[in-house]
Each structure stands twice: as structure tokens, then as C-alpha cells.
Amino acid sequence: MAKDYGAAVSQKGYDVKTCADRFLVYSSAFSNLKIFNVQEVSTTIPYDVGVGFQDFTVATNDVWTSAGHGLNNGDKIRISAESLTGGAGLNDHDIYYVRDKTTNTFKVSLTNGGTVVNVTSAGDGYWESAPSRITITHNLGYYAPFFVIHTGTSGIGRDHSYFFTDSAGYPLDLYGSNIRQYENKLEIDIPLTLDQYFDDGEPVNRSGETVYLTVIQFLDDFSTISARNINTGTTSGSSSTDYGIRISKAGYDVKTCTDEQCVFSSSFFNQIVHMKGSTTGDTVSHSLSYIPNFLTYTNFSGDDYIYYEVYPSVDSSIIDFTGMGADYTKYYIIFKDKMN
């Protein structure tokens, strides 16, 4: 078993010398997720400018043909994910503004009324109404973990928060590739409808409403930290008296501030990082002999962003990415916290 050195603080009621690693608030042997920034962002849920997905062809004169498209100059569209064939110069990520429209044709630009996007090979695909896009520039220079929490809309109200979605995964769809973490920015695409499946059972188009999100951006990267166990003991005690260490956030009195206003406090457990890294393989062994808390993101080969990934599962020995395939790079953080 590895020797510990440096500093360690145990949770209230646990013997710092003998408790298991997972009962430490922090230890210099293990890292913690550090919050780089927390902010609230909002945007307007877009209006539908078309009828679902509509097919188009595009030629090297930059003209899109889509019979009876119904678009107006200035409308925002995007190419449906993975539908584009050919059409060099276009992609299914950018949001395009319609210009030079006729009944059955139009051109596009990257800004409203801007320069026409140059198409260098003929192509075809499907277009759809563009989402509202929120961009948060963090300039970290690497992939970093993040959370996006939906905290309501101007129509629904703001009494609840939802982690990465607003329901069981029906649109809003705030996970998957609608939220993309690049090395220097985070992009969030808000689609058209906002389902209130668990609230009223009916999908509701909430175009025009303001949607609110809390974005938690962490400082940490996915460079490898290998699994390490210092103490697997379970010796513990109990005490109602607060003691140990607490550090307040800037501007708050450490003696009188609330626990929430602390950078950290030994009164509360911490998500100590057991190991982290990235892999294209199917499994990662964690060697904890219990089921741990974990966090995963993924990146498809060739993409320059990662997104929150719900597919993997964890048991008492591995985190399992089986089925995702080697085309995906899986980024993982495994914490000391125990699930079972």
C-alpha cells in the first residue's frame, strides 16, 4: 500500500490517521475538482422557421434548392446532423442566415446579410431551424469537465433545476452533442421544444420563452492520474461538534459565513479524485473494490469538442464503455465516493 505524506483532512467524525481514503475531505495525495467559474446564462428558445427537416441540394454556384422552403431572408437554419453529403464548404455545426431567397432557392451566410458561404462541391442533405446557441469562452486551452443545469424558463417558472436536461431526455435535450466543450469555449444549443414530460405529461413548444441555465466550469483537465489507494480502513467515529478546517471564499468572513460560502470545509465530504484520464478502449479498471461515483465525457474521432456522456456504467472493478467503440475517446474521472 502506498505511503501517504503531506497534508490530509478527514470528514467530521473520522479519524484522519486511519479512515479510508473516501472519508477524507482532502489529501495532498489526491486531487479535487476545482471550480473555475459558475455562471447563469440565458437565451430565447427559438421559433421554428420551417416544417421539421427539409431536404435540399446545393450547387457550386452557392445556391441551395429546397422546393417550397418557406424561408425568409434573415432566418437561421442549420444542416441536420450527419445529413450532409458533399457540399464542401458547408458543415452541420455552423448556423447559417438565409439570404437571396426565391420560392425554391436561397443562399446562406454566416452573419445576417453577410458574405455568401462559398460551396466548392455539389451536395445534398437536410436543413432544419437553427437552435439558439450560447457560447461561453473560457480560454482554458484544454478539455475540462463541466456541468449544465437547466433552471427553468420564463413560462415554466424557476422553482426546479434539472441536471443536463429538463426531463427524461426529451427535448430540451441538454446532454449529448447539443452541449459541446471545446478547448477554449463551451457551446450550448437550445432546440425548439421544451418537454415537460414529468410535470404535465405533454410536450410543449416554448418558443419565445427565456430559458435559464447554470454552467459550472471546472479548472481540471483529463491528464492521467493513476489509481492510488492509501488507506482502505473503515475506522471512524462520530461527533456533532464542528472542527477541522474551513476556508471561506473571497469577501466572506470565515468565522461567520455559511458553509455554502466556503471554498471547502472539513464538515462536508468532497469529491476526491481517485483517478482520471482518457481512453479509446472499452473498459478502465479502478481497483477500488466498491462501486464509485464517476463522471464521463466523450469525443468522436475528428471532432474538436467533448460532450457529457451517459452511456457508460460502473461496477466494483471497472468503468464500462463497451459498445461505444474505438472511434470514441472517453474522458473519465472516478471519485473516491462509494455508491454501494
Partner: protein
């Protein structure tokens, strides 16, 4: 502006010169502070909706993470999955999410399967002091 406070570097990193992200902890950046953790076992009928309500009584909306372990599914491993889940398997379909208000945490899911069976689940949650709605 000068830095002040304290920082502890990772093993092998010079605490005076390493980057902030190479620190175990630094007073410059907060960490998530865990308040309550717990879990349990329950069932969900085919086509039904299961809601687990956990009181946190923080008086504000906290950040929460939750996990679900389908123990007898045809399509899911007998492992823990992080929420939300929206998966249409070959036999099993599972939609699950976690949401929070200023009083409670709600872990909610529905499932249906080709055999019309009630399924068994373990669930786990971690409630933090940190606010989800800032």
C-alpha cells in the same frame, strides 16, 4: 494582482510554479462541497413512473448528482449509470432524470420492456451545498 491564500500541488509538481490545475486544492478556486449522500432500492412497473423524493431542506436549489442501477434489465448492465438517461434498447426502454427544488431532490424514471415486467433498481444520490441556481 498578487495571489494569496494557500495551495497544495499534486505529487511531483512544484507548488511555487505549477499551474493552478496541477494543484490538489487552492484557495483560489472552490470545490464542490458534499452535504448528503444516500440511496436505496425500489421497483418500477412496466410503463409506470417511479419518483424518489429526498428532502434536503437547504432552502435553496442545490447541485445534485444521481445514479441508477437497473439490476434485472435485458439491455442494461447491472451497473450504475449517471443520470440523465434516455435509452431505447432492444427490449428495455429507460428514461430517467434528476431534478431539484428548494426543498427536495427528485429522482424520476419510467421504463417499459418487451416482457411487460416490473424491473428492480438501486439508486444513489449526492447532494451538495453548492447552488444549482445562482
Amino acid at each position: 494582482m498578487g495571489d494569496y491564500g494557500f495551495r497544495i500541488s499534486q505529487d511531483g509538481k512544484d507548488v511555487k510554479t505549477c499551474e493552478d490545475k496541477e494543484c490538489v486544492i487552492t484557495s483560489k478556486y472552490a470545490t464542490l462541497k458534499g452535504s448528503i449522500s444516500g440511496g436505496g432500492a425500489t421497483t418500477c412497473a412496466d410503463g409506470g413512473l417511479r419518483t424518489i423524493t429526498v428532502a434536503h431542506n437547504l432552502g435553496y436549489i442545490p447541485y445534485v448528482r444521481a445514479f441508477l442501477n437497473p439490476t434485472d434489465s435485458d439491455d442494461f448492465n447491472n451497473d450504475y449509470y449517471q443520470l440523465p438517461i434516455w435509452v431505447d434498447g432492444i427490449m428495455d426502454h429507460l428514461y430517467a432524470s434528476v431534478y431539484v427544488d428548494s426543498t427536495n431532490v427528485y429522482i424520476e424514471w419510467e421504463q417499459w420492456n418487451g416482457d411487460a415486467l416490473t424491473r428492480n433498481y438501486n439508486y444513489k444520490y449526492f447532494i451538495f451545498l453548492d447552488k444549482a441556481k445562482v
